[in-house]
Structure formats: structure tokens, C-alpha cells
Amino acid sequence: MNARVLPLCATIAIFLLAYLFCYIQFPAMLSTRVIGNLLTDNAYLGIVAVGMTVVILSGGIDLSVGSVIAFSGVFVAVLLRETDLHPLVVFVLLLAITSAFGAAMGGLIHALAMPSFIVTLAGMFLARGAAYMLTIDSVPIDHVFYDEVLQDAYWRMPGGGRLTLIGIVMLLSVLAGMVLAHRTRFGTAVFALGGGEHTARLMGVSVGRTTVQIYAFSGFMAGLAGIVFSIYTGSGYPLATVGTELTAIATVVIGGTLLTGGAGFVFGTLIGVLTMGLIQTYIVFDGTLSSWWTKIAIGLLLLLFIMLQKGILLLGRRRRTALG
């Protein structure tokens, strides 16, 4: 089998096994209700993880996304409270801002030849600070469009589960991410950057433009995740989603993407997100376990995947030397 799809297969296998385990313990977990909730509850995480996947595939990292989500929620809430703008107009404004923010970080990363870690760390503080400048309180969103359209739109699946609007947005984001990463020239350039910047440049990748595009995309997805999060919670709060960037990175790695870049699948990230959601759901169903067990399970899964990736790398190297 091709070593490249091995992590993806492992991800899917682990998810299915985990689901089977849950089903045996709590047969009720295999229902469209649970699946619908799984998608709704993790919609914002899934969306931001798609952006993160593209960044990590290129060999970078984006630490700003958690703060950008919080900023987005606050921005939307405050603008809807202070002005008469329609939410859709506010969304467009917000996505323009977060994309530009991402693009600016990408530009700095390229122009200063700085590690993405440092630049997006600065971006993380900036975005969080900007959220606080707008308000220090939790601002409820009280708009008829929110209450009656965004939060109420769903498709009733067979079995009674609700596939909500934000769940659908998440699935569409994953689909868009898959096309972008695996089926476009931009995607090939992203993989090329992850494979080696010097070589990518020699092969004709416009490194600067691609870097800007990558972080703009991540910023856009973080903005979209922020909108979804505001719909999910019905409010904007500057202290929200602290550490979400790390959770997103974890889902990307559990999804089988190589943390050093150059190899992975966007679809795997969806499975990674669902695996995390599954663990949380299990803990809710169990009722006796502390929710901190989620973190422990995720930590163990991460460790497993990092070792798996290392193992695959070693295996590939050994096979190649054997072939000569």
C-alpha cells in the first residue's frame, strides 16, 4: 500500500473502532441525533481546522486562529448591537478583515523570512487584544436574522437528528478544503512548499504569493469559524476559544497530516475533529467521568499518531535503502 495514505487509513480505522466501542456501551450513540450534534458542536473547530490543515501542509503553523475566532464573535456582536447593518453585511466585512489579517501575517512571514510560529504568535496577541478593545463583556447577539434563520435552520435527517446550518457549513468547508488542497495548482504549490521551500522555488512556485494566500485562507476560515461560533453560542465574548489553535493543530495531526508539512489529507482532519467530538460525547453519555478525560484521550491519540508517523518515515527510508 502507498505509505502516504497509511495515516489516513489509521485515522479512519481508529474513528470507526472508537465508534464501535461507544456503540457497544451505549447503543443510543449510533443515531442521527448524536451524529447531528457531533457536527453542530464541532462545526467551528472543523472549519478552523481546515484552514490549519492547509497551513500545516505548507510546513507552517498558525497560532492566531483561536484569538481570531474570539475577535470575530465580538466584532459581529458589537456591530449588530451598535449599528443597523444586516448580519450578512457584517459577515462580509468581518471575513475581509480576517483574510487581510492572515494575508498580512503571511506577507511578514515571507518578507522577514521569520518562522510562522513567531509571526502568528504576535498575531494571536494582537487579535485577542483587538477583541478586548471592542468590549470586555460577553455581548449577546439579539437579531431577528440570527434567531429565526441562522440558529433555526436545519435539515431533519431520517431518525430525527438535525443537520444544522452550521453543520452543513462545516461539511462544505471540508469539501472546499479538499478541492483546494488536492485538486488545484494552489494546492500543489502548498504541498511543494511543505516538501521544501528551496526546491519549490526552483520548480517555479511563487513562494511569496503562495505564503500570503495560505495565511489569508487560514484567516478567512478562522473568521468563518468565528461567525459559526457566534451562531452556536448566540454571543460574542473576548475570552472565548482560548487554546482553540492548539486543539485545531491536534485534530490536524490526528487526521494524519504530517506536522512538518508536505503530506496529509483535508478529509483526515474532518475525521480528526469527529474523533475528538466522539470522545467528548462518550464522556457526556457516561456521566461519571470528568470532562478532563477528553484532554487525556486527545493527548494519548496525538502521541500515538506522532509515533505512527515517525514509524512510517523510518519504514519508508528502510525500504528505499533496501531497494537501493
Binding site: N2, F191, A192, G195, G204, G262, A263, G316, G324
Partner: protein, 501 residues
């Protein structure tokens, strides 16, 4: 004439890299470009491929003046390059690598089927029908990757193909496959520039050859009419004055280390080496012949995959530099800037480094001890510095080399490998380091001296081992150690030795 370069001159700050060089290339020939380090081969190639801009001179392609400003422009003009390290992306598929940047799209989406078909079309005629273009490049051997790189370069450019050390990481069978591909391309009318250190390959493959030395054009000749001896003379040139032999070649001491059949696939063929106490063994050969590879294997930098090394106490573990150091080996590598010193640390810290590593971090060497150590060596080796706290990066090349030496002397090794210890240092320091080598051996230390300057080897060595094409081919002792014999050994035809590269 497909390509005609005349009066090409290029200066870098402080050096004249190319001085009025001429070079030409016909369609349908393989033209070898030869020269030692610093001869100007790379600069010539880089001027041609748009990496550097020339200062003077003309480059004519098909009778048109060209001055490519980037590798892309050169590629569009028809000049493609394949480097020693494959410049493709191992994590992409073969098809993506071949069609990179030119994939057909529909509604912004790559047409995968079309891309594969294009890639298969590009690979036709290279004997790679078994390659699945949908698989990652990394799953194939370096030789196949190399051929895929050539296929891409030919498809993208199509007039001139520059091969820069393409065989450096291939074995004999792979090299032969590659040569078949190259000959095939030549017969199709491509002009091929072949840069290689391997003289056998130059004679096997090329139609004509050009030798550069110190940025100057030395000779262009038909390969068939050139002898190996002439070629080596052209490459080494004036450095070949008769060197004064070491005044007294001493009687050898007792045997301390015995190496049998040590080697590593793709690096250096198995060799035997017997080291006696207090002797200097010289290692002579052209660039890329296997000198440094020998040192790397002996020191565990690239651990040997066959053979043994033994001493009076039994087998010596050469699995890693750490193990080699524990066995009393020392190694001052060729590139001291990247491998030898830590430029930002002080002289004191650099000297104490290896000793500290051996003692383990649990028993730190006190600052005053370090200081005494450093001051001692600054005095005995005459390191010119204001004090021991100066950063090593601020010293001159010769003094940096002395710091590297001091570090190893502090370890008191029994066997010290010095790879090009006098490279890039001035004449005075040069003599001092040679003198130092003599003093060290008097105390019983054995030294393996690697140098591209034959007079230096002749002056310092008790015996000289000649390496070529990654194999030890002969050993000269006593009166035999003279420049002509070394050259003759390097230039011997391979048939006599029976070892193909």
C-alpha cells in the same frame, strides 16, 4: 554551434571567479566540464542558467545573444539543469513533479487524468515504463528520481541539458542506466554539459572535454585524443612543482589500529588500513575521489556497513562519532566553519567542548580549569588572540584551525584525522600547522592527513594512500612518495585495476 560562450568574466567580492573563459557546445554531443574546487565550473554553470549575472563576455545560443536573468528564463530559452541532489519534491507524485506548474485545469481544478497521461508521455523513451506516475516520488530510488528530473528538464527546455555531478550518489548499475539515458538524449540532438569528478565517467561518456583552473580556461579537446595523465596535469596545473620530501621518514612504530574491509555502500569501497604509532598517513586523490568519505567512515560520521577495525584490546566500535571518540579517534573536518567550530562561542568554550562531552555533564570542567587549558594551548599552538574569551568566529582561518586542533589535542587522541587542515589559511600558518603535525607524531599520535595539495602530503607523510573513484587504489612508501607517482596512480586506467565506479 549550439552554444558559444566567449570572454566570460565574473567577479565576486575579493575573487575573480571566471577570467575570460570560453566554452562551446554542439548539438548532439556530451561535453565534459572539469576542474578542481574553485576552478569556476559552478560559476560558469550559474552564469549560463541565470543564477548569476556575468560581468563581461557573451553567451550565444543558436547565434542569438542571451543573458538569462533567472533559472526560469534560462529554462524558457532551452537550458535545463539537473543537479546532484535531485531538485524535485519527494512528497509529490511523479506526475505532479513532471507537470508541476503546467497542469491543465478545468474550472480551476487540475485534470488528474490528463496530468497522468502527460506525465507518462514525458517519461516515454527513458525506460521507466514500470514507474507508476501516481505514486510519490520518494518511493523510487535516487537513480530513478534523477532520470525523472532529467525528463522534466528536457521537456521544459529541450536544447541544452546541464548535468551537475549527476552520478555522485548512484552505484555502478544505476550509473550505467543513467548513461544510457544520456546517450539516447545526445543521439536525439540535445547538447549536454556533463560536470563530474569521476574521470572514468568522463572518458566513458563525453565526446569533448574542457578543463578550467582558477577561473581560467585551460584546454578544450576531444576526449578520445586526451590521456588521463594529461588531463590530471591540466586539472592540477602549477601546483605540481616538485615538493620536498619529508626529511626523515622514520621507522614505523608498533601497529596500533588495524582496519580490514571497512566500507560503506555508495560512499567508499571496502579498504584495509594499518595504522602504526607515530606515523602520518597521507590520503591523496582528486576532489570527490573518496578522501573525505574514508575519514567519515573511520570516524563513524557515516557508520561503516561492512568490515572491522581492531586494536590490541579487540574490536573498535565505529558506529557513531561518539563511539569513535571514546576509542581515541579525533577528526578535524574539511569544512571547519560548519563542522568544526562554533563561531559564537569563545576559544575557551570551543576547546573545552569535546573534553566536556567525554567527561559527561555530571562532572563539569570548572571555569578555571577551562581557562588553564585554553591558555596552555594558546601558548603551545601560538594562537594569535587577545585572550581566551574572544569568539572563535573573529579569528583568522589559521587560528580557527588551531583552535580545532587544540580541541582534539585536549582529548589526547591516539589517531587524529585532519581533513584539509591548511585550506584557506595563509602561508605562514600553513607551515606552522605542518610543523605541529610533525611534533604531535613524535609523541606517538598517529595522523591521517587528507589534502589536495600534493606537496603538503609529500612533505608531511610517512606513506601516501591514493584514492580514486571511492576506492583505495595504491599505497606509496619511502622513496616512492613523489608527485609524479601520485599523479600516475590517480591517472592509471581503470582496466588495470578492474574496479568500475
Amino acid at each position: 554551434m549550439l552554444l558559444k560562450i566567449s570572454e566570460l568574466t565574473k567577479t565576486f567580492p575579493g575573487t575573480l571567479a571566471l577570467d575570460g573563459v570560453r566554452f562551446d557546445l554542439k548539438a548532439g554531443e556530451v561535453h565534459a566540464l572539469l576542474g578542481e574546487n574553485g576552478a569556476g565550473k559552478s560559476t560558469l554553470i550559474k552564469c549560463l542558467t541565470g543564477v548569476h549575472q556575468r560581468d563581461h563576455g557573451r553567451i550565444e545560443l543558436d547565434g542569438q545573444d542571451i543573458s538569462p536573468a533567472s533559472t526560469h528564463e534560462a529554462q524558457d530559452l532551452g537550458i535545463g539543469t539537473v543537479y546532484q541532489e535531485v531538485n524535485l519534491l519527494p512528497n509529490l507524485t511523479v506526475a505532479e513533479n513532471l507537470t508541476f506548474g503546467r497542469q491543465e485545469t478545468r474550472f480551476g481544478m487540475i485534470r488528474t487524468g490528463r496530468m497522468r497521461a502527460d506525465a507518462e508521455e514525458m517519461l516515454r523513451g527513458y525506460g521507466l515504463d514500470h514507474v507508476n506516475v501516481g505514486r510519490e516520488l520518494a518511493t523510487y530510488s535516487v537513480a530513478i528520481q534523477q532520470i525523472i528530473a532529467i525528463a522534466r528538464a528536457v521537456a521544459l527546455s529541450g536544447k541544452i541539458l546541464i548535468l551537475d555531478e549527476p552520478t555522485a550518489s548512484l552505484d555502478a548499475r544505476e550509473t550505467e542506466t543513467l548513461f544510457d539515458v544520456i546517450r539516447n538524449l545526445r543521439d536525439q540532438g540535445l547538447g549536454i554539459i556533463f560536470v563530474s569528478h569521476f574521470l572514468d565517467q568522463v572518458f566513458e561518456l563525453s565526446d569533448r572535454l574542457t578543463v578550467l583552473r582558477n577561473g581560467r580556461h585551460i584546454v578544450t579537446a576531444d576526449t578520445a585524443e586526451t590521456s588521463r595523465l594529461d588531463l590530471v596535469h591540466h586539472m592540477l596545473g602549477h601546483e605540481l612543482q616538485e615538493a620536498e620530501a619529508r626529511g626523515t621518514r622514520r621507522a614505523v612504530g608498533e601497529e596500533v589500529i588495524r582496519v580490514r574491509g571497512l566500507g560503506r555502500r555508495g560512499k567508499i569501497d571496502p579498504f584495509d588500513l594499518t595504522v602504526h604509532a607515530g606515523e602520518v598517513i597521507g590520503l591523496a586523490g582528486l576532489l570527490g575521489s573518496g578522501r573525505t568519505e574514508t575519514a567519515d567512515v573511520l570516524f563513524g560520521r557515516t557508520p561503516p556497513d561492512r568490515g572491522t577495525a581492531t586494536d590490541a584490546d579487540g574490536e573498535i566500535d565505529l558506529g557513531s562519532p561518539r563511539a569513535a571518540i571514546a576509542a581515541g579517534f579525533g577528526y578535524a573536518p574539511e569544512d571547519r566553519k560548519t563542522d568544526g567550530i562554533i563561531a559564537d562561542l569563545s576559544i575557551r568554550e570551543n576547546i573545552a567542548l569535546a573534553l566536556q562531552a567525554r567527561r559527561g555533564w555530571a562532572s563539569p570542567i570548572s571555569r578555571s580549569e577551562q581557562r588553564a587549558l585554553a591558555d596552555g594551548y594558546i601558548r603551545t599552538l601560538d594562537i594569535r588572540t587577545t585572550d581566551a574569551e574572544k569568539a572563535v568566529g573573529d579569528l583568522s582561518g589559521g587560528n580557527q584551525q588551531k583552535v580545532v586542533l587544540a580541541r582534539w589535542l585536549a582529548m589526547n587522541p591516539r589517531f587524529l584525522i585532519l581533513d584539509e587542515p591548511t585550506r584557506g589559511i595563509d602561508v605562514g600558518a600553513h607551515a606552522e600547522i605542518l610543523k605541529l603535525i610533525g611534533e604531535l607524531t613524535e609523541k606517538g599520535m598517529s595522523i591521517l592527513l587528507i589534502s589536495s595539495e600534493f606537496d603538503e602530503l609529500i612533505a608531511a607523510s610517512d606513506r601516501v594512500i591514493v584514492v580514486r573513484d571511492r576506492a583505495h587504489i595504491s599505497e606509496l612508501t619511502g622513496e616512492q612518495i613523489e608527485t609524479d607517482r601520485i599523479i600516475a596512480a590517480i591517472a592509471t586506467d581503470d582496466a588495470a585495476q578492474g574496479a568500475a565506479p
